[in-house]
């Protein structure tokens, strides 16, 4: 299977199954409309009004060389590969809901303004410790483990966060593991003491900010209705500085109200942030802020213009990283990971303040998906296996999609929220993801030109 697209003056061809990416000229791009279904003579007939017969013949020969080298029209054989068949998922990452409470209100909050449709609650240290024990006891031979402090707003329970880190640091030695702690925060409670602790102990920090002041404050405001931008910007900037502009993301959400989100990304870059991730909101169409199918052309235009500006700034020496444009063509994740996907419900689980286990943070609160508790150290096998088997070959739409080894089947929670089935991906999300991949590859193609 191949996928080809033309963006920013580049003709790009992806050989889906080998992972090879080619920049081609217009002639090869056109030939691939017909090859391999037509003979060389038939292709020459189709294209001879625009190209010389010699050139067409020469280009077809180049295509055939790549095909013979396994770089075009490669067959998909991974389903039968030993590494895939023998994979044994174990729990290696926790999303620890240390606070089901939040000090701000966000219109689009999937956590129902922090309480996940339940009681506002903070995790106590005993549940925190049991969660760490659960991870250590269920992680098999995996050395690198992850614990993300999440909420609600995790800094509302910072003393417990500190205690859990201390406990984890002691226990990881005992078990011969390496726990990478991370946290997500809205920044309101960041002060010098918390920043110091986080910078000493957290491998990554996700700082929530939506972009321009008006955009941020329309969606993210305090309990009294005051926008958060003015309050958090100095804190987030200080945090980024203290981390030497490494291992953090400012992370925003864009909605139907700011389809021109590229301006928000650039605003964050202008503020001085170097690592930026801005994601489309996931919301059903009845919400006024939802992104609808008819919005997609606008969204695509903004991804394209962002890619152009991203390159321009990089060339001028004031570049920044945009999470979705980062693709390492040579040393990215292995194909086994790409088939298996995000790992929710198999390698990655969320734990509530009460110690209940869910497949991921997005399922918390939907008791149909409660898969266990850190108290009894067991997991519902049926739910666990259904998530473990939710890989790209078992999702009909993904199986025939060119993007399957880039997105790995998408978000199970989005699929469930829209289609009531974790095996049926969320279409609008898929379209945006495909556009982001095309932009990322265009960026790579243009960077390679400059080398």
């Amino acid at each position: 299977m191949i996928h080809k697209f033309n963006q920013g003056g580049k003709y790009i061809v992806i050989d889906v199954n080998s992972g090879s990416v080619h920049v081609v000229d217009e002639l090869v791009y056109n030939i691939l409309d017909y090859y391999p279904n037509m003979s060389s003579n038939e292709i020459i007939k189709c294209l001879s009004s625009d190209f010389s017969n010699e050139d067409i013949d020469e280009a077809i020969k180049e295509i055939e060389i790549l095909k013979n080298e396994g770089l075009l029209f490669h067959k998909d054989t991974y389903l039968e590969h030993e590494s895939f068949k023998n994979r044994k998922p174990v729990v290696k990452a926790l999303c620890l809901h240390v606070s089901h409470d939040c000090n701000i209100r966000c219109k689009y909050c999937f956590a129902s303004q922090g309480d996940f449709k339940g009681q506002r609650a903070l995790m106590d240290i005993e549940i925190g410790k049991k969660s760490i024990d659960f991870l250590l006891n269920n992680s098999g031979n995996r050395k690198n483990l992850e614990v993300d402090f999440f909420g609600g707003e995790p800094l509302m329970n910072f003393e417990v966060v500190k205690e859990i880190v201390t406990y984890g640091r002691d226990k990881e030695k005992e078990y011969g593991k390496n726990i990478r702690f991370t946290t997500t925060t809205n920044g309101v409670l960041l002060d010098d003491e918390k920043m110091e602790f986080i910078n000493e102990h957290m491998h990554n920090v996700v700082l929530s900010l939506d972009g321009r002041e008006s955009v941020n404050d329309f969606m993210r405001y305090t309990i009294n209705g005051k926008g958060t931008y003015e309050m958090i910007i100095p804190k987030l900037l200080k945090m980024a500085e203290l981390r030497n502009h490494e291992n953090y993301y400012v992370r925003g959400t864009f909605t139907g109200f700011n389809l021109d989100f590229s301006k928000d990304v650039l605003h964050m870059a202008d503020l001085g942030f170097k690592h930026i991730s801005v994601e489309p909101v996931v919301a059903e169409p009845h919400h006024d802020y939802a992104i609808k199918e008819e919005d997609l052309p606008t969204v695509f235009n903004h991804y394209e213009s962002l890619a152009e500006e991203y390159l321009k700034r990089r060339n001028k020496g004031n570049g920044f990283n945009f999470f979705h444009f980062m693709i390492d063509l040579n040393q990215g994740p292995c194909v086994i990971k790409r088939i298996s996907g995000c790992g929710a419900g198999s390698e990655y689980i969320a734990v509530t303040p009460e110690g209940d286990i869910y497949p991921c943070h997005q399922f918390v609160g939907n008791t149909d998906f409660r898969i266990g508790s850190v108290f009894d150290n067991t997991i519902d096998k049926d739910i666990y296996e259904s998530f473990s088997e939710a890989h790209v070959y078992n999702k009909e739409k993904c199986n025939s999609c060119w993007a399957k080894f880039y997105c790995s089947g998408g978000c199970h929670a989005n699929a469930y929220n829209f289609n009531k089935d974790i095996m049926v991906p969320y279409d609008i999300g898929c379209e945006m993801e495909k556009k982001r991949i095309e932009c990322a590859l265009t960026v790579q193609a243009k960077l390679s030109e400059e080398e």
């Binding site: 081609v24 000229d25 999470f323 790995s408």
Partner: protein
């Protein structure tokens, strides 16, 4: 080649050989928390 410039070879095929160790970062934990882009993760077993 005159008409084709290859940016990268058969990286997926090669990656399968010693793939699946599972030591890499969980994609959803990295920066996004809502939508997956797995291809921009790093391999821990280069």
């Amino acid at each position: 080649m005159k008409h084709i410039k290859t940016l990268n070879g058969a990286t997926l095929v090669k990656s399968a050989i010693k793939g699946g160790c599972g030591e890499c970062q969980t994609s959803c934990q990295s920066a996004c928390k809502t939508s997956c882009t797995v291809a921009n993760q790093e391999c821990e077993n280069k």
